[in-house]
């Protein structure tokens, strides 16, 4: 029964597919699930992005240099996250001279790293740094990112040496740059 779980899970996922593939028939989704499962057993070792547990990830939230970090927590299955990603990309490109760096922290599940995350990043040609945070002990680490965070995504932490703010919400480009300007001016 336990063994069946991931298959059912993936089949459902491919069905929802963030709304894109909702019309897929059952056969296709089962095939997708099967191929994904095989891929999964072919292990995640060669995943393109660095994978952190929270202990190894935490220093990324406390760097003491001259850069303003925009740390966005997202996942490929999170529709509002996907919608705001272009704004973070734009900020990463346009604020380079202001020493701003965007870090996209994927909370995708291990089964999705090769099957969804990598293709997504490639397709969207994301230029910001992408890292994976894989730590199921969420109740332990969520408060360490911010006491204000209930656990919903999208969520964003903006910090530099002088200032630190956390936002459990989505952004428009205008909203994001408005917040960011408080850090760089």
């Amino acid at each position: 029964m336990r063994y069946l779980l991931p298959v059912v899970f993936l089949a459902t996922l491919s069905l929802i597919g963030c709304g894109e593939k909702a019309k897929q028939n059952n056969n296709t989704s089962e095939q997708v699930a099967a191929s994904v499962t095989v891929e999964e057993s072919g292990k995640n070792d060669d995943v393109k992005f660095p994978v952190y547990n929270f202990d190894s990830f935490e220093p990324l939230l406390h760097k003491e240099d001259d850069i303003t970090y925009v740390v966005n927590f997202w996942a490929t299955w999170c529709k509002p996250c996907i919608e705001e990603l272009p704004y973070f990309e734009k900020v990463n490109a346009e604020f380079k001279d202001d020493n701003v760096k965007v870090v996209l922290v994927s909370l995708d599940m291990p089964s999705m790293w090769k099957s969804r995350l990598e293709p997504f990043v490639e397709k969207k040609a994301l230029q910001s740094e992408v890292v994976i945070l894989d730590d199921p002990k969420q109740n332990t680490w969520i408060p360490k990112v911010s006491e204000e965070w209930g656990g919903g995504i999208p969520a964003t932490l903006i910090y530099n040496q002088g200032k630190r703010s956390f936002y459990e919400r989505g952004f428009t480009y205008e909203e994001l740059t408005k917040e960011l300007n408080q850090f760089i001016n």
């Binding site: 996922l13 929802i16 909702a22 529709k79 199921p136 109740n139 209930g150 656990g151 919903g152």
Partner: protein, 204 residues
């Protein structure tokens, strides 16, 4: 610019109202609050309220849905919770808080399909009009509220995640919900009364 001012004034008014009024209405329930009853449509077409359960000692009100990967990861464990605690007087009441027009995969018809596929043994209700989840203060799926039925109403005893490992049920160290229900039924103090977890934002 004018609309901004009006909007600003409105936000100010709302936030002021929340200070003046009952503070629990804006942010949802805290531990010890009395939860309001509701009347929501189940997948079998019948309306369900907590007051229908005259013999219950409490409830596991779980905001969940069809489409969120975390909710899906917990489906089997929600079924297990109902199997374990319904007979002890604490049934699962699942509520889908998402707006189906924002998330078609969470429509009433799709809820029926999913419940049938998984063999849900508990009511799976649609929060039609999205009035109930804000009262509770649910922000994501899955989001659990353990209620204890008392003479003064249904008191909130635990808020949060089901356990501490969404990825793998066999690697769970702390079964937050089970520990809370067990303590409640034994008349003991619940040690962990609220937990945080990553979840899917409720779609409005």
């Amino acid at each position: 610019m004018k609309t901004f001012k009006i909007l600003g004034a409105l936000i100010l008014l709302i936030s002021m109202a929340s200070f003046v009024g009952n503070t629990t209405t804006e942010k949802g329930y805290a531990i010890g609050d009395t939860a309001a009853d509701f009347s929501l449509k189940n997948i079998d077409g019948k309306m369900v309220s907590l007051s229908d359960y005259s013999d219950a000692k409490g409830f596991l009100v779980i905001f969940t849905c069809n489409t969120c990967p975390y909710a899906v990861a917990y489906e089997d464990r929600i079924i297990e919770l109902d199997a374990k605690y319904k007979s002890k007087g604490v049934p699962v009441i699942a509520i889908n808080p998402n707006n189906p027009s924002a998330k078609p995969g969470d429509s009433f018809d799709k809820m029926k399909v999913r419940a049938n596929e998984k063999g849900f043994t508990f009511p799976y209700l649609l929060d039609e009009g999205q009035k109930v989840y804000p009262q509770y203060g649910a922000t994501r799926t899955p989001h659990v509220y353990l209620l204890e039925k008392t003479a003064d109403g249904n008191v909130v005893k635990y808020i949060g995640a089901i356990d501490d490992n969404y990825q793998d049920a066999s690697k769970v160290d702390e079964k937050y919900v089970e520990d809370a229900v067990d303590a409640m039924l034994a008349g003991k103090e619940i040690k962990v009364t609220s937990t945080k977890a990553i979840g899917c934002t409720i779609k409005v």
